[in-house]
Amino acid sequence: MIAQNIGFWIIAIVMIVAALRVVTTNNVVHAALWLVVVLAGAAAQYILLAAEFVAVTQVLVYIGAVMVLFLFGTMLTRARIGTESDLNNSYKKLGIPVGLVMFVAMGLALISSFGDEKLPQTATVVSTQEISDQIFGPYLLPFWALSVVLLAAVVGAIVLARKD
């Protein structure tokens, strides 16, 4: 348990720092790499939360696919690899109070509702079969739907992105 806790805190701190860098760095590629750190940290946290399958998916989809998309996007839009000065809005400070207010709201709610409630000690890892049973059982319809969504996204994105 303690080990898990230590792991959590280390990963959490790294994630937070990385996340902050994502939103503050002046280099688009750096931001993408910091995002990789956050996503990887998240995957690690999922493992701590006994969600192996999701963690794997996270790595595959996010780090494997989405990050590549981001990098492609960056390159296709000819962003400079180095630092750029023009990435932020002039009113970026507006984000701080908004974020803080949101955090206060969330924090208040979370503290008042969950207080010092603990997670179950004996966390058995959720098996992939269980998940698949769920997906192909009650959650079948969204799954079907998702296939059409992805098709539409692909078709649409291609049409939009291609030169003509």
Partner: protein, 739 residues
Amino acid sequence: MNLFASESEVLAPLMSGWFLEHAWLIPVVPAIAFALIILVGKRLPMKGSELGVLSMFSSLVLAAGAGYQWIQRTNSATEEQFVEPVIKSWSWWQSGGFNFGIGQHIDGLSVLVLIVVAFISTLVQIYSLEYLRGDRRYTHFFAALTLFSGGMLTMVLADNMILFLLGWEIMGLCSFMLIGHWWEDDANSKAALKAFFTVRTGDAGLLVGITMLYFSANDWTQEHLGVSGFSIRGISAWALSGEPNSTVITIAAVALFIACIGKSGQFPLHTWLPDAMAGPTPVSSLLHSSTMVVAGVYLVARLYPVFFVGLDILGSGGNLIMVIGAITIVISAALAFVQNDIKRVLAYSTVSQLGYMMLGLGAGAWMPAVFHIFTHAFFKACLFLGAGSISHSASHHSFDMKRDMGGLRKVMPITFVTWIISTLALCGVFPFSGFFSKDEIIDNVGHNGYTNFMIIGLIGAFMTAAYMTRATYLTFFGEPRGASAGQMVHDSHDLHDTHATHDTHATHVADDSHDSGEAHGPHESGLLITVPLMILSVLALGSGFLNATPFGESWERMKLWVEPRHSEFAPELHHAPFMWSKASLSLVIVFAGIAVSWLISSRLFTKRDPRLVGLTQRVKLLGLGHKFLVNKYYLDALYEKVIVRSIAYPIASAAYWFNQNILDGILHGLANSTRKLSGWVYKNIDQRVVDGTVNNSATFTKSVGAAAQPTQSGKVSQYGALLFSAAAVAALVLVIINT
């Protein structure tokens, strides 16, 4: 009803007759004639005038028949018996528990006034056939004249206040149409406007008065008489029943009296009446001397119990009616002195005479006042028509005594004689009719204990005599001047003389068909004009004998026929016993007035004539031998310098100034300030505040829009910021609430 039933059973049954029962036809005839004139008048050979004359004549016959039967009815009653009026009423419309009736209320008073109105109307219409011949709105004129008579007759025989009001207002309307008959000129139409408007101002009082009386009296009248609170008979009985709350009836009486002030040209609403002379002379004669303006007096006489109780007549040292009447007598008589316009003199004289009637009614002298309505109608109509005759045939349509008249007695003998008779009647000289009525009023005022008012009455009599003499002198004596001397028309008329232009206007059109060639010199008028004059003058002379108190009870026919005997419906009144001593006093005063005025007039006006200067000098020198003239001479200077110059003129002028500047000023000021107020209200309240609020709310809406617009900056991040911050704030608020 039951209350009185037992009583009347004992008494002798009253006679009635077809004419009495069908008196309601009297106003219906002119009403129908009016419609016919409007519809087909223009196509008739005499352009509708024959219908007017015919209808008035039929009304006169009906009225006379009713009069005859009424006399029989009174004769059939016993000495002390109350002669029940012949009341017929039909339901006109009802709604919400209100029953508005229509019907006739025939008693002595109404029969008397009916006959007078029908008679004068007939004569005036005949007179107008000639006077307005060729006028471009000849048909309309007769239509309006007929409708006017119809209105007046309706009012006179109305059995309830609503019908009364109807007639009253129709007269107002017709006066508007008739005064403004030559509306091409602004002055005329303004006079018409002023007349109708002033009368309408008073009418607000009538509306209020009727309303108050109705609601106060209705319960009582329904219970006791089974009639509504509009019924004149009901109101009268209620007023005398001792039932009414004194405040209510007083206010109601005052309200009604305000209407009378407006209609009868009493002080301070008399100013419209002289201006109303802008109408054609027959109109002046009919409306503003003998009929319409009498409506106010008639109202007081008709609802006498209300005023009697409400204003505490005979019960106090003076009342509103008397005060107003007395002020009117003096004020208007004084005004008559400074008029150059013959019709205006007559107009002021009318006002003054109406003041007498009011004074009489206010003082409890009901019978003399009513009798004065009767006699005054004849002689005043005669005077007006005489003035019209002069203007028509002698002074080339001018009414200016000083400039265009003088010495006409020779050229217009008939007019002159009738004028003199009527003037003497107006002055109250024995045995002319005015004496029997006016003197009675003054006598009774004194008899009822109002000595001060009697003195005012006597002063008024003096003044009346004086100004009438002045007018007569200027018109008929001395040397012809201006138009009456055969001079051509003046192109530039005085300001207050504009109506004269319009009498001209009228006949200019007629010049081709008019054979008399009036432009060539003064002459006597045609038969259509003189015959009415003669008839009227005969009546001016003789009508007084119908109630000739000096000759004893048996001569007081009118009192017998007209005055209601004391009953539940009529207050108890006493009559002053006639005494020659008192009568001679007033006669002396009248003669003094005539004499003084004559002397002054002859001196004054003769002197002013430059052609007579030499003559005057000679008279002055020769006067040593003529005591009478010499005396006149000395007095002349005295009067001229002391009385006339220092008293009469200043007083009269002051009165006139007061009239023109203060009263009229107040009226005009009121009108102006109302106009200004309305302008201000419109500009500032309506357009700025009320409308402004609306328009500003639109502006406000738009500025809200402008304030909200920056949120729509077009920048995604800002949109995002808004989205997240709104969500955050909402979450925070609701989280805090629910924690």
